[in-house]
Point group: C2
Chain length 247, copies 2
């Protein structure tokens, strides 16, 4: 969607897709190759995954703005400081982006996956959308890349698809898993044991697949039951395929 | 995913995304522009939506294979002839595609949306994947285009997303709608009244959006409660946005 607003630069929230630069949209590719300003989130001290995806595409004189998360896992989600610190962080990022736009500069915010699907960009977006022109470019989700990589179609007929985050309580995960046709679980990482236990409490454990680094060079696809326990999978998604009607 | 197999041509299942040619992936765009053979499903007597998306991209001497559905809505899903006729249709399509591949010809099957997400291509895929080399290219889903077009982020924090098809019974729709954070409903068409009634039975009706022709020239976004009753929306998706935690 686009809001036009003369004189101000446009803030593009550009979905990069799952990781393979060739899986970016033609539109995203074009905008990134001609961008004068790019911004992206990353963990402090890292290059940043979004930035890595566009390596080699940016012009030599592009101006980069790395937005480094002030906290990741050191502070519990339940700690009131967590919200305060993150809110201040997004406010500062938004102020910088807004300044550029007010000066007439357009800017590409590089977003892993699809910007409006559990994306960090949404926090920035909500803080600039009322005053600046913003255009959001949808993208291929990590889950689409993951189920494609299994080589098994995901949803058939009127299969119901449920998307769950591994951060949910185990009881909630189990209840939802037991009541869907097709299943995607994201944010695996440290929640891997909990998710596995929840799947074992249903009949889905043997049907589940773990995809790591979908659409990236070091990707892997395994039946979940073949994965060693006590691992912490990165960039990983679990899927259970639907089995709906088909001719 | 890719299976390599010397001498045989590769069957590419190419996701075209929601409709805007610029939202195709760089990879899909490249493969389609250099294809010597393309195939696509369409209703008899129509140009076909997948074929329309790639208008102007194909080489002048490309060889086209239009796969025309023998039935759409004339025969009820519950009629045993439905499955028989469709199964024979997909078998015939698969035989043609397999012959081309056996002759060493690669072929691009043009798929609306993401091929493994409720796609017709899956029926072809299951009939050729054991014997021919197949590569599937994921794509931006219609639902991503739809929620992007509302200008409102879709899922936050650990929001649960449920995807429902309008073909489900009303009671099932209502039960699922009442028990999710974020909601996508597809296959609206003739099910529009039933879906609206199900939404009204929950507290989601006032929060729902109807997106028609997402990412196409004639697209529209409306609050569902602003839509006249007794319409039959085409190329339409209903979304209810999640309201999960955010700093």
């Amino acid at each position: 969607m686009t809001k036009s607003n003369t004189n101000k630069g446009t803030i593009f929230g550009i979905g990069l897709g799952p990781g393979d630069p060739e899986l970016m949209s033609v539109k995203a590719d074009r905008l990134i190759r001609t961008a004068s300003h790019v911004a992206y989130f990353r963990k402090a001290g890292r290059k940043g995954h979004a930035r890595s995806i566009v390596e080699g595409l940016l012009t030599p004189d592009v101006i980069e703005f790395a937005m480094e998360y002030p906290v990741t896992t050191e502070i519990q989600l339940s700690d009131p400081r967590y919200n305060y610190i993150l809110s201040e962080f997004y406010q500062n990022c938004a102020a910088h982006v807004r300044d550029l736009s007010d000066q007439g500069q357009s800017l590409c915010v590089l977003c892993e996956g699809d910007p409006f699907f559990y994306g960090s960009f949404m926090h920035l977006y909500m803080r600039v959308k009322e005053t600046q022109p913003v255009t959001v470019i949808p993208a291929i989700t990590g889950m689409s890349a993951a189920w494609t990589q299994t080589g098994i179609p995901m949803t058939w007929g009127d299969d119901i698809l449920t998307v769950l985050l591994g951060t949910l309580p185990k009881e909630e995960l189990t209840r939802r898993m037991a009541d869907t046709n097709a299943l995607v679980i994201m944010k695996i990482g440290r929640n891997f044991e909990k998710i596995s236990e929840a799947l074992k409490a249903t009949d889905l454990y043997e049907k589940a697949w773990l995809i790591q680094y979908a659409a990236m060079e070091n990707s892997s696809v395994q039946k979940l039951s073949d994965v060693y326990e006590n691992v912490t999978p990165y960039f990983s998604i679990i899927v259970v395929h639907g089995q709906g009607r088909r001719p």
